[in-house]
């Protein structure tokens, strides 16, 4: 009896010890995930959950920027770029035990490409109208044929999380390293390790190493910062420069600047012909010399130094140097040159008088820049641009608006003069930006939905983007897209300002973390992360 008693006590102690030692990673989501349906993911928080729980056929290695096999052991793309054939891994099961097969791939793709669903991931595959056809060639072989060639086809599958065709709750059965165990709306999402995860490490141990992940919902960055300093959370995926520098002073081991990210900050002028702005201002904004002059009148070096505390580089064009293959290294950032700016303006009949610039008709040069309120970096950038252009006699009014009001102005009413916003880039392939460059598109920010290209250079960009989309040769595509970047630099429809660095925070207890510029910066290799004993207080 005594033996049983002591045995039970020992068991309980061991159980409790194990429970308190369980590896639970904690970090914040900055907003409530809007959906757990991987096909409908469009916001950051939902994307985080999808990344951690979704099993994909192919994964873009965020470090090497190369595609690697995941649920698909091998794949081939047909010469015409319309068909991709996958050979799937065998004996893989979803988190709820249902087996994974080609039928699940078929089910997933058909859901994704349902036009009624309006999936952003699905839309990325839509290069033309017409139906996609999925052919199940065997339990572990499937071919997907599109109506037209899709450039960069294979890489798009990095965003396609396979859902189960057999499970009662299709989206909740996971093939990824974790599954959603609990969701308390407004508070947290709790993920547990997938007991059926197919991946093993080199020693044969089943991955992931972590037992669970707690994603608390917290939009306040100050609270996130405070909790991180107190080691109450383990990661900050993306940090502002101010917080980074403060932590770098007090806890340098916790922060890492991994270099330029894919993101950029840019401004543009409203060139919409029907915009409710004075006609003389529209003429200014449509003038290449004017745009180039404004570009030359802004100190990008100061923006990097002051706003981003040196954790940014002057942008050269639409592609960041972090995008190793697609970046056009021949482009140079535009240096501050107020003299050149004034020369360019003189070419268009502008003249400086008593410190103020006037156009040909005698109108003082004054315009407003709209940007989103609450974004300290953008507000600071706009204020600095205001000061820079004052030297050229130009008056700039900074107008901060809440985001819905801003979107309405730049997308619907076109009641704005200049806008300052950022581009959050998750994808490397320029095809992802097709809608920005095509003049007929709604996303062609400076002058959307043109029935015919308004300028010869926009017509050339249209041609080049279509050509690169239908070519299967990377070298050819690169040539076309380099030319697009050159035209954009010459014509400056967007005035690219900076590429921000990826600034991350990782507590030393997290082992295996190798932060990178691409999203998700700190946990892209989540299966391989583990936690050192927090009670011991030190990690590698």
């Amino acid at each position: 009896m005594r033996r049983v008693f002591f045995g039970t006590c020992l068991f309980l102690v061991a159980f409790l010890a194990a429970a308190s030692c369980s590896d639970e990673l904690r970090f914040y989501l900055r907003s409530e995930p809007k959906t757990f349906n991987p096909a409908l993911v469009a916001d950051d928080s939902s994307e985080t959950v999808r990344y951690l729980t979704g099993g994909v056929l192919l994964r873009l290695n965020r470090q090497s920027q190369n595609l690697q096999p995941e649920l698909a052991q091998a794949w081939t793309v047909s010469r015409d770029g319309r068909t991709i054939t996958f050979t799937l891994r065998k004996n893989v099961r979803f988190s709820d035990g249902t087996p994974f097969s080609a039928l699940d791939v078929k089910y997933t793709m058909e859901q994704l490409m349902d036009p009624a669903l309006h999936s952003p991931t699905g839309d990325a595959f839509r290069s033309s109208s017409g139906r996609m056809i999925v052919t199940v060639l065997g339990p572990d072989k499937v071919a997907i044929t599109f109506p037209a060639p899709v450039a960069g086809l294979a890489a798009l599958f990095d965003q396609v999380a396979i859902v189960s065709s057999q499970s009662a709750r299709h989206e909740m059965a996971s093939l990824g390293p974790f599954y959603i165990a609990e969701h308390k709306p407004g508070s947290y999402v709790y993920l547990r390790r997938n007991p059926n995860y197919w991946k093993h490490d080199v020693s044969g141990r089943q991955l992931p190493y972590l037992d669970s992940i707690k994603l608390e919902i917290q939009s306040n960055r100050d609270i996130e910062f405070l909790r991180f300093t107190r080691n109450e959370i383990h990661l900050i995926n993306s940090m502002d420069a101010d917080y980074f520098d403060r932590l770098a002073l007090s806890a340098p081991a916790k922060v890492r600047d991994v270099g330029p990210s894919l993101d950029s900050e840019q401004m543009w002028f409203n060139q919409v012909p029907t915009a409710p702005i004075p006609a003389y201002k529209r003429e200014w904004f449509r003038s290449r010399s004017f745009r180039l002059a404004i570009s030359s009148g802004i100190s990008r070096d100061d923006l990097c130094k002051v706003v981003f505390k040196g954790h940014a580089i002057p942008a050269r064009g639409p592609v960041s140097p972090a995008n190793k293959f697609w970046f056009n290294a021949r482009l140079q950032p535009v240096p501050l040159d107020t003299k050149r700016a004034l020369q360019l303006l003189e070419q268009d009949g502008f003249r400086l008088s008593s410190g103020k610039l006037y156009d040909r008709a005698g109108h003082p040069v004054e315009f407003s820049i709209v940007t989103n309120a609450g974004n300290r970096a953008r507000e600071a950038m706009a204020t600095m641009i205001q000061q820079d252009l004052r030297a050229a006699g130009i008056t700039v009014n900074v107008v901060t608006l809440d985001f819905p009001s801003l979107i309405q102005r730049i997308s619907k009413s076109f009641d704005y003069e200049a806008a300052l916003l950022g581009l959050v880039n998750d994808e490397l392939d320029p095809n992802a930006q097709m809608n920005v460059w095509l003049s007929s598109s709604e996303e062609h920010q400076w002058n959307p939905q043109q029935s015919a290209p308004a300028t010869p250079w926009e017509a050339e960009i249209d041609q080049l983007m279509r050509a690169q989309a239908s070519s299967m040769q990377d070298a050819t595509r690169k040539k076309y897209y380099d030319r697009v970047q050159k035209i954009v630099a010459d014509e400056a429809p967007f005035i690219y300002l900076v590429n921000k660095n990826a600034l991350t925070g990782i507590t030393p207890t997290v082992q295996g973390a190798r932060p990178v510029p691409l999203r998700p910066q700190t946990f892209w290799n989540i299966e391989y992360l583990k936690l050192a004993d927090e009670r011991a207080g030190s990690g590698n």
Binding site: H118, P120, D402, E442
Partner: protein, 298 residues
Amino acid sequence: MEMERSERGAGDGWKSVLRRVLLAAMTVLAGGLISATLVRYAPGFGSDERQLDARLSSASLAAIRDANASERRILPYYAGYIARALHGDLGISRSLNRPIQQILAERLSITSLLAVKALLVAWLAALSLVFAAGVLRLPALSLSSSIGSGVLLCIPAGALALLSVLLNAPGYLALAVVLFPKLNRYLSNLTAATVSMPHVLAARAKGLSETQILVWHVIPVIKGEVLALAGVSVGLAISAAIPVEALCGIPGIGQLAWQSALARDLPLLINLSMLVIAGVTLANSGADLLSADRGQAA
């Protein structure tokens, strides 16, 4: 005769309550319509940040734009909402993609508890200071209480929320600190004005203690205003809860209100507005009722 009078009094009392309930219901309905109209005509209505997603096709963008087509004509939309609400269907939140009933059920108790605790703490603190100043009659205490309230009013809510996180203090304390100076200021001024009234001077001359004076001669005089302040403080607590919850990360109605305002989520905002209007109207009506009852009894 006395029985008839008391029966008549009771009957009038019920009529008064019924009238107040009806008026409150009308206020809630009118307020809901005004709120819905303001949201509908505010800039950014119908805008969605997905409109800036370069991956989306024109068909998808059109679908996003049309998602709130039914909300554009506000009167039919509101009438339809009321009809559905009477059957228990509060609608679906566009920004959170979930039934509003569920969302409110999860969050209402959090904010209610937060507001109740904060109001209790703030009222207790304010009343204690006012009584102490009244009983002890120390000008220095009154002065420092005034200055203290003034200092607290000057500290931004964000800084208070940050401090509460830093000190691991519960959120309701941050809210109480926001409410306290307003209550203290009003109460101090009300009692200070009353203690210098002739009847109070007479009572003091007759040798009554300061406590007796406060309880018998000051409070009864200002009870109407204090009850009105109590009703108003509920509204102040609800509106102050918005920044406190948003900044402290408390998943209550306040945080929800801020997020839904930024998302222009009309279905959710109508429900939240009507909830707030109902709460404020109830609190103020309750204060009026208490004030009226005591008046009748007197």
